[in-house]
Amino acid sequence: MQNRKKVVLNIVASSKIAAPIKIEDLQEKRIVPKMMIRRRLTRNAKIMLYIADQCEFKGGKIVYGSAFGELQATVGITDAIVNATQISPTLFQNSVYNSAPSYFSLLYGDRDEIITLSSGMQTSRDVLRSSALQALVSGEEILCVATECLDIPHIDEVNSCQSYLEMGAGVVLSLAEDSLDAQEIALIEEDGIIDSMKDLWSVVTMAEKGIKKVFVYL
């Protein structure tokens, strides 16, 4: 790691949220006033939009991550196949991993680049790294956000260790001019937070403690 290229990033804004089963108040009626869009949103999209709203991010480049993507849509499709019922076109369009940031793009008219990563338990680490790259190359502020929504029926058949089934964390990052007071990311072990979220969750926690700059390896 010592020889890897790293950049210094300002944490411009940050937000995180989690719940054991379902996050109750994502303020979707305020954030997404148009019912036609709101009723199609996935849970990942609602959480991602909430995080972006809390960070006051209205447009620009986004790097989004989710290890397991749109499980609820995927389950809806496979159930329809098993039960020989019609697949909802909305479920299928919502099943792709980039659904959440695409809804942000629709909502805010954001025509900029969207990158979505799904690197297993390294997802939020890679979201941070790719955000650092985008900040370095573009010189612009980047919304760096990850969500996981594991709240599907019978999830206990495959999940025995995650006590939070919905969670999201995000930061707006910009390239820092210097490394004064910048800190390495201190990974925080927090019970119930899935490893795929750990790096970004830790950065938000650092920001909540007043840390304003972090080193991120590319």
Binding site: F68, I77, S95, Y97, N98, S102, L106, R111, S118, S119
Partner: protein, 364 residues
Amino acid sequence: MIKTYINGYESYSCAGDTESLMQTIYANQSCIEIDTSFMPENPVGLGKMGVNDFFATLQEVVNKVLLQSNLEDFSNTLLLVGSSVGGMAESEHHYFKDKNYKNIDPSRHAISVISKSLSHDFSFLDTRCVSTACTSSANAMLLAKRLLSVGAYENILIVGADALCYTTVCGFHALSVLSSKKCTPFSKNREGMNVAEAIAVLLLQNTPTQGAVELLGVGASSDAFHMTNPDPEAKGAISAMQKALDDAGLVAQNIDYINAHGTGTMANDTVEGLAVATLFDNVFISSTKAVTGHTLGASSALEAIISCEVIKHGMIPPQVSLTEVENKALNIPQKALKKEVRYVMSNSFAFGGNNTSLVFGGVE
């Protein structure tokens, strides 16, 4: 500025390996089969690899790229995967058989099953997985070019990989965009697309080796219009193509050939045709998805390989299965055309209005 060279590649699709694929393209043939195994009452054209073990084939293709490279191993190489479904086929297999999730391994369901599988067979410096639906491997190449340009890595292996599964075949059927025949991109009476599977692997490095092709430009945008339908004014597609040209330091007149996204759906081909006709003047364009089908997250990597081959062969691919051209403003060759090809653009567009264009050039 550090440049990005594509120093090696290999692929496997319904048309076989890369050599076989190019022979099929230039012979003006399609490898699509009409299939009823996924939906017995709804025959659809599919591009099937015909292999028993997708991950064993993945390992073989990656190994071929390693053997043709100047590397002893991948220990100083970043693996960058682009995939839209990851391990979905395996999860479906268990769920359809058991009707529960008990035998599904979550780590083999996710997109990262591809990097996990390859990390078992090879040792990489690091791994990262991109999943933006049908632009997945194009965005992997976009990130790779930028990572190489800032000196973060010396070698990056791009793996575009997607296997056929019920979710995608039945899902696209639910959107009413599948063709029951071999797809006919840019044809007036086209019926839709053919879902397909493929593995496409490219080694990108910061110094060229013999026969290298340069990845000159990358451009990306979002439509901000609709989750599945492209912006009818083609603003997103035009923006991605213009950004790729700007990044390459080229103008539209420099491009000799465009490998189109060209899925064969009414929506895509109309909008992509409009975008190309707006930005370019009489450039050759064709869609090789008429040969391979739409290989989803693997398609951009597969078509990047085709683009490199077009430069090396100096031969423009014909539009296979073309009947009557819908957009007469497009210059769509019906036969393979021998000519010097210096610069090729490859387009990829995805659900969510995600657009990425890549520009390739020969190395003097």
